[in-house]
Subunit: 184 residues, 2 copies
């Protein structure tokens, strides 16, 4: 195979990426340093390169930096601890749902989450950190941001420069969560 792999792989093999994935960790306290336009747009641009079921791209994203709006969002989201300089509101677009009636959720929602992971990884590589918050008052957030009814906010992603050193990610024992060929 001879498909172009780009600079990361050419220069460092996959080690750089694997290390970055291992090092990323949740960041819940932020400095007040603002996220400038250029950095914000770099993050948003790679976010939407995530996989998308049936190429529906059933998503919509809002970047909120106005401190008053960020404070209001935080008031509706008890899981948002520190005051971030940026919140990205990641929404599922019900108007583009895949309409698979066999499950009570939509594959497009999973794609929104993959886009959020892209965002968090890019933020980490840029020296920022973040925390996706899934517990918040949905109707209040929709009204605050003027979201149309078909856009359902799934995650509020708080982002900023970490105010403290990152703590390593703790995970369940490997054999509890990863199996080979059959589960039992």
């Amino acid at each position: 195979m001879d498909h172009a792999q780009g600079g990361l792989v050419e220069s460092t093999g996959s080690e750089g990426l694997l290390r970055l994935l291992r090092e990323r960790s949740v960041v819940r306290r932020y400095t007040m340093e603002p996220v400038d336009d250029a950095l914000l747009d770099r993050l948003l641009d790679v976010m939407v390169t995530a996989p998308t079921a049936a190429n529906k791209q059933a998503w919509g994203f809002m970047a909120v930096r106005d401190p008053r709006s960020v404070r209001r969002l935080r008031a509706f989201a008890p899981g948002m601890i520190g005051l971030p300089p940026l919140v990205v509101v990641a929404c599922f677009d019900r108007a583009r749902a895949t309409r698979d009636d066999s499950v009570p959720w939509d594959a497009g929602m999973l794609c929104v989450a993959m886009a959020v992971e892209n965002l968090l990884l890019a933020a980490h590589a840029e020296g920022l950190g973040g925390c996706p918050v899934g517990s918040f008052r949905r109707v209040a957030v929709q009204q605050l941001l003027g979201l149309p009814p078909h856009l359902e906010p799934l995650l509020l992603v708080a982002l900023g420069r970490p105010a403290r050193a990152l703590e390593p990610t703790r995970r369940r024992p490997r054999e509890e969560v990863i199996r080979y060929e059959t589960w039992s």
Copy 2:
């Protein structure tokens, strides 16, 4: 701020990661080259470093390489086009649900999707490619793999060396999906 960022950022800034995110694209046709144990375990190890709501780690993953099992899985998943040497079955663990009754899905499902994105990115960095498949016969897959009732398969992730050059990812116009401060 002085938090350690690791080799990728030290050596190349964030450019390597951003390029990798932009270059990853869906891969639906695979060579027959097997995925060896060491490579497989590198992929699986970074997969579970994804964010996890309330640190529930409400997930379980199975790596399936036995060609007969892969063929059977594919028979239940019309969205799986080529025959991959590896399928990772990504499951939500209902026994560890966050039990937020305000929505018909669980934040833990979104974390499973983020783990799958880690897997796809690591695979891309290692010269593999993949396609997450969300449409498949769930009960049949559960029975085939001996999954306990609390483990619900969300995505079958087909992985292998790309048999063709990657095609660039096409996305909706930026202004359709990304907004600032308010939607309207």
